[in-house]
């Protein structure tokens, strides 16, 4: 695809154009197909998932959605997930922003090690932390409690978010901070009133990332939340697909209900996400 010959600068022959579009269309088809199929399956009537016939909308029904919303614990799981993800987001943004700012601005003792440590915590496999963390939570009475799960998620989300926030703060000129200091703000005032508002896109991205981390996590949720009515979606949905019994109708309908809000928010912030991810990495 890359090796098309240039006619004039920035122009290519019609064949190359066709090739380029064809390549992208194939990629789009692959990326979209599972999602489209999911939506179609969820719209089939109750036992419609038992057939693979590629019929489309001849007997579309919202039966599965009705069953999910009224006949299962789905609404409760959804509420749990929203609470967990929301709290993770608020706490995560706060922690990541302060850390990111401090590391971006101050060459204090150990600032390199802080960043390096944050990267290393990304490597911690679930397996090594989960048992001690489970015991810790049990000791603190935080099992089956949403705050306990939030704390566990913060350990996953904050390191990466702090990296992202650092790269955002790196793009805010230091001179602005200095102007703030000259005007009589304290270092914390500069952070709160000057740097934070300027890094708003970064905050959006961090918030989104924290939210998605909590929204999509499975391992901790499965282990820490053994009571069915306390589980978030990732753990709860597993009840639809049992060892001996599965109801893919329920599963697909709830998957659509989960993916739609996530997808909408994602499309809104994705531009910022791209800048956030690359700002730090491309700067030398």
């Amino acid at each position: 695809m890359k090796r098309v010959s240039y006619r004039r600068r920035g122009e290519r022959g019609p064949l190359a154009s066709i090739g380029l579009h064809a390549g992208l269309l194939v990629a789009v088809a692959i990326s979209l197909f599972p999602v489209v199929w999911l939506v179609l399956t969820s719209l089939k009537p109750r036992d419609g998932w038992l057939s693979t016939e590629l019929r489309l909308f001849d007997d579309a029904s919202l039966d599965n959605y009705a069953r999910v919303l009224t006949g299962t614990q789905f609404p409760q799981w959804l509420l749990n997930s929203v609470l967990t993800a929301g709290l993770t987001m608020v706490a995560g943004v706060f922690l990541a922003a302060t850390t990111g700012y401090a590391v971006s601005r101050f060459r204090f003792l150990g600032h390199r090690s802080v960043m390096w440590l944050l990267l290393i915590t990304q490597m911690f496999p679930v397996a090594i932390l989960i048992v001690p963390l489970y015991n810790l939570m049990a000791g603190l009475g935080l099992l089956n409690q949403i705050p306990g799960l939030v704390i566990a998620y913060l350990t996953i989300a904050v390191p990466f978010c702090a990296w992202m926030m650092k790269s955002y703060f790196d793009t805010v000129p230091v001179e602005i901070d200095q102007a703030g200091l000259v005007d009589g703000l304290t270092p914390f005032g500069v952070f709160w009133r000057v740097a934070l508002p300027l890094a708003r896109p970064g905050i959006a991205v961090t918030a989104f990332y924290c939210f998605m981390t909590a929204w999509g996590e499975v391992g901790y949720a499965t282990v820490f939340m053994s009571q069915e009515d306390r589980q978030p979606l990732g753990a709860g949905l597993q009840h639809f697909i049992g060892q001996h019994w599965s109801d893919w109708g329920l599963m697909t309908a709830s998957a659509v209900l989960i993916a739609i809000p996530a997808g909408v928010v994602f499309l809104l912030v994705q531009r910022h996400l791209i800048t956030g991810l690359t700002a730090g990495a491309t700067k030398s």
Partner: protein, 323 residues
């Protein structure tokens, strides 16, 4: 715990007078800002880590861990057994089997992520009609939460009702029990992970491509460089910073990728598709919960990743990256 060791190395460095890092008093507010994270990390990663390492040196299982049931306190009766768990793991064929598969899984996934991601990024970086539409549609898999994606794919692979077999049957072929055979199950989970992971790479690399100055390409073109030469001499070096970061992150993430395998195949058939992380998880939370064994697996996994990251960083440093 972790933070303090970090400070020691930094102090040593400062003592050698290399950096402009200033002592504690000059930037106390910086530490005040980091304090929340330091505390959280210390309590939630440092302490469990220390305790995990300790557990890995004992014979703790669910049966002897000690707990409180109502008012009855059952004391812990597990004992310190030294390196027994590690010896048992490292001498078992199972470990090497799982390690081999984990390495194959990681290399295959990261290579596919990077290769496909780079290909798509290069295509999207050209002047092109519908570019933003393509981009949004290609990013879509990223927006789907991993566990939802895992469930979708599990349905697609379903041997009786899955659409993949449906298509095969339509073409007159017989269906394949995708998740019942070790080889196809492995291919299946890698496919799912590639589907999920490509958008991230694509987006990161696209950002990298856009930061390469167009003048470089113009100059190379004037000098008569072929498109392939331009790709090798300008694009790839221009992407080095981004590439090194995303490949390291991608490797770590894939190595520790939990939900895909846990939810798509549940490790099966047998435990064929179980990677190290999911295996250690299962040790800890199914049957008689083997806490010590699982912790030992965890320590081994972590040690391998740390070695990998340090080696990677060294290599990059040696090549002159300021990383």
């Amino acid at each position: 715990m972790t933070v303090s060791t970090g400070r020691v190395t930094a102090a040593e460095r400062a003592a050698r007078g290399r950096r402009r890092e200033r002592p504690w008093s000059a930037h106390w507010y910086a530490w005040a800002m980091i304090a929340p994270v330091a505390v959280v990390m210390l309590v939630l990663i440092g302490w469990p880590l220390a305790r995990g390492v300790y557990l890995s040196l004992t014979d703790a299982t669910e049966a002897n861990i000690g707990r409180t049931i109502g008012v009855n306190v059952i004391p812990a009766t597990y004992e310190f057994v030294g390196l027994d768990n590690y010896v048992a793991i490292l001498t078992s064929g199972l470990f090497w089997e799982k390690l081999t598969w984990t390495v194959i899984w990681t290399v295959a996934c990261v290579a596919a992520h990077y290769g496909i991601g780079l290909g798509l990024a290069v295509m999207l970086n050209r002047r092109l009609r519908f570019r933003s539409v393509y981009r949004v549609l290609l990013i879509l898999p990223w927006a789907v939460p991993a566990f939802v994606a895992a469930f979708i794919w599990r349905y697609l692979y379903n041997s009786d009702y899955g659409v993949i077999n449906g298509l095969l049957r339509m073409a007159g072929l017989s269906g394949v029990g995708w998740l019942d055979d070790p080889t196809t199950a492995k291919i299946a989970v890698i496919t799912v992970n590639v589907w999920i992971g490509v958008p991230f790479m694509m987006v990161a690399l696209l950002g990298g491509l856009q930061s390469i100055p167009a003048e470089l390409y113009e100059a190379a073109e004037v000098d008569g460089a072929s498109p392939w030469q331009r790709f090798v001499a300008i694009t790839l070096p221009g992407l080095r910073q981004v590439s090194s970061t995303v490949i390291l992150l991608g490797t770590i993430w894939t190595f520790n990728m939990f939900p895909i395998i846990y939810l798509v195949t549940r490790g099966g058939p047998g435990s064929e598709t179980e990677i190290l992380v999911t295996y250690a998880f299962r040790e800890a939370f199914s049957g008689v919960r083997n806490y010590s064994g699982s912790a030992a697996w965890g320590v081994i996994i972590l040690a391998m990743l740390v070695v990998l990251a340090i080696g990677y960083r060294r290599t990059l440093r040696a090549q002159g990256d300021p990383w």
